[in-house]
Point group: C2
Chain length 333, copies 2
DNA sequence: GCTCTGAGTCGAAACGCTTCGACGCGGGAA
DNA sequence: TTCCCGCGTCGAAGCGTTTCGACTCAGAGC
């Protein structure tokens, strides 16, 4: 079943069928109807490879997913699903690449014209792939911000503002001594942008409000959570507000604080940056800023589509944080 | 940069370059060296679309991932990563499809020759996609077993044997009254094969050993875990052995039993079917059968490669369960 | 009535690779 | 010596689209 078969069946030339399919030239209503009927009747499907060759567009996007320790897998998957469904809406498919393939993988899919464009997740402050992405002849979008985003297109939640929002809420409620319980140490060591930015937003805003503040990386285990909680209470007896940016330890932390005799939010107020689901299911539902994975994924694809159309796009897209109040933060006693 | 450029630079014909690249005809060592040097020097990369068109092979596999409730996302991701890395080892890439695309999605990527073959995860007993997969002109492999696997190629852990192994271990340790705490009810309602088969293996083996046994679906929440534990102790006072096939509730269950005054493994022995990591990190590490995601993914790809080569492959590949002893199961007091 | 324009269609030339058949050549068998 | 075979290479014919330029035909403008 090729385009010439359809053309013959509909009594037109192959090019007319092609134009009817792509809409790049006008076709009379009658001809279009005949062509569509023939396509249906013959069950014709254009050959992806032939199309890619002739048009130099594969209609495939590459998505590079991270699989390093410390990454929260379900969140990664949410991005991926959002990217795939949005890409489909724009008539594109998604090729899955693992971080592990590295620069060579990016170069390969770009240079062989397997993909038209790339989406890269889990960007580090000084990511090795940045020079390559800048040099590549295919457009790309980063989910996450490196230290120097010039010449790239980046999108993400505004983590600095998110950190600020969490501490500001505590400040408004009258808390004077706060702590940030953050990602595992290796995430900071790798200089993953979002972790660092949360800490910056947290500290800057705490300072601006005249609060006493401290930052505590924390492994993603219940034991680590308990240890951090214990240390916090010992070293900062005046502590009444905590910001958590570490999904897996949220629940263990709440448990630990309560076991140490602190009521949430009576004695201790908590705000968090994490997906809604875990925030809502803790003993005391936690006031939190969610990571808008669906929106980030969708907008990443849309940015790419505009770049593919040759339209200009903003280099940086920062999504404003939205704080959902759930009752884990209350006025200071 | 095209193959003719390389050919000219190396002083040979384009077809010779092609044969040097594919190895489908013999090339003298000297010519091959010259060609390789030219390729490196010019930075040549074959155009994927042109290749697909001429050879009618895209070197891309489709992977259909599930995203329905009850699926455990990290496990899905492990399969996906294993599929991608193995595919790369065989010089193939992976196109990511969501369940949601349904039959039309499968048909589309197959009929447009976007992919050479398909891998489908999360197969149900009476999956709607089976007739299509049988009819498609591209080979496919299912991860999971439907009720009627004839005419298909399927691979998975032998869940029946896994259920049997878990209960047999308890039987050997002298337990006489056992229970299976299974997946959420909706998983059974959807007739997902693996859940049903675990229950079958569990029940059959318990019966064969003359044990008293019962099966209990369980939602994936700590509250549900606690409720099931409570009910179990009330209704089956003689209970001394439990098999858990529900990863998220494993830890809450252990906690619940201990809170009800049962020591593990002193008063209650537990075995489980779940990934190693959660089994190992509970208060009492749990003797378990792991789902060999890496092996399943890799072998699925390898089966597909053999089918693409026209070689015969077994319709069913059942991986034998391997029980890892961790101390949560002990002889009956 | 004549040109000009634009809508609708066609033919042919790419697009960059693979593969088939053929050819030249040297070595082993007869 | 002749014949045959197989190795290494080449030329040309696809593979199934898209796209460019050109053509036809009506209708509008004058």
């Amino acid at each position: 079943m090729k385009i010439t078969d359809v053309a013959r069946h509909a009594g037109v030339s192959p090019s007319t069928v092609s134009y009817a399919l792509s809409g790049k030239r006008s076709i009379s209503a009658d001809t279009r109807r005949r062509i569509e009927a023939s396509i249906r009747e013959l069950g014709y499907r254009p050959h992806a490879g032939a199309r890619a060759l002739a048009s130099s567009r594969s209609n495939v996007l590459a998505l590079v997913v991270p699989l390093r320790t410390g990454m929260h897998v379900p969140v990664v998957m949410q991005f991926a699903v959002s990217v795939v469904t949005t890409a489909r809406r724009h008539d594109h498919d998604v090729l899955l690449l693992t971080q592990e393939e590295g620069e060579e993988g990016l170069r390969r899919v770009a240079d062989t014209a397997l993909v038209d464009a790339l989406i890269v997740m889990d960007v580090q402050m000084h990511d090795e792939r940045l020079p390559l992405l800048r040099a590549l002849d295919r457009p790309s979008v980063l989910i996450g911000f490196p230290a120097e985003p010039a010449g790239l297109t980046c999108i993400d939640l505004d983590f600095r503002a998110a950190g600020a929002a969490c501490v500001q809420q505590l400040a408004l409620l009258g808390h004077r001594c706060v702590a940030l319980i953050g990602s595992p140490p290796e995430v900071y060591l790798r200089q993953t942008g979002f972790a660092q930015r949360v800490a910056e937003g947290f500290t800057a805003t705490a300072t601006r409000h005249g609060l006493t503040s401290s930052v505590h990386p924390c492994e993603a285990s219940p034991a680590a959570a308990r240890a951090v909680a214990e240390r916090l209470l010992r070293e900062h007896p005046a502590l009444t507000g905590v910001v958590v940016h570490n999904e897996p330890v949220l629940e263990p932390l709440v448990d630990a604080f309560e076991q140490f005799g602190l009521r949430v939010p009576g004695d201790l107020s908590i705000t968090a940056i994490c997906p809604d689901e875990p925030a809502a299911r803790t003993r005391v539902p936690v006031t939190s800023v969610a990571i808008p994975t669906a929106e980030v994924g969708a907008r990443a694809v849309e940015l790419l589509m505009r770049k593919l159309d040759g339209a200009p796009v903003p280099e940086a897209t920062l999504l404003a944080p939205r704080l959902t109040l759930r009752g884990s933060a209350a006025p200071r006693a």
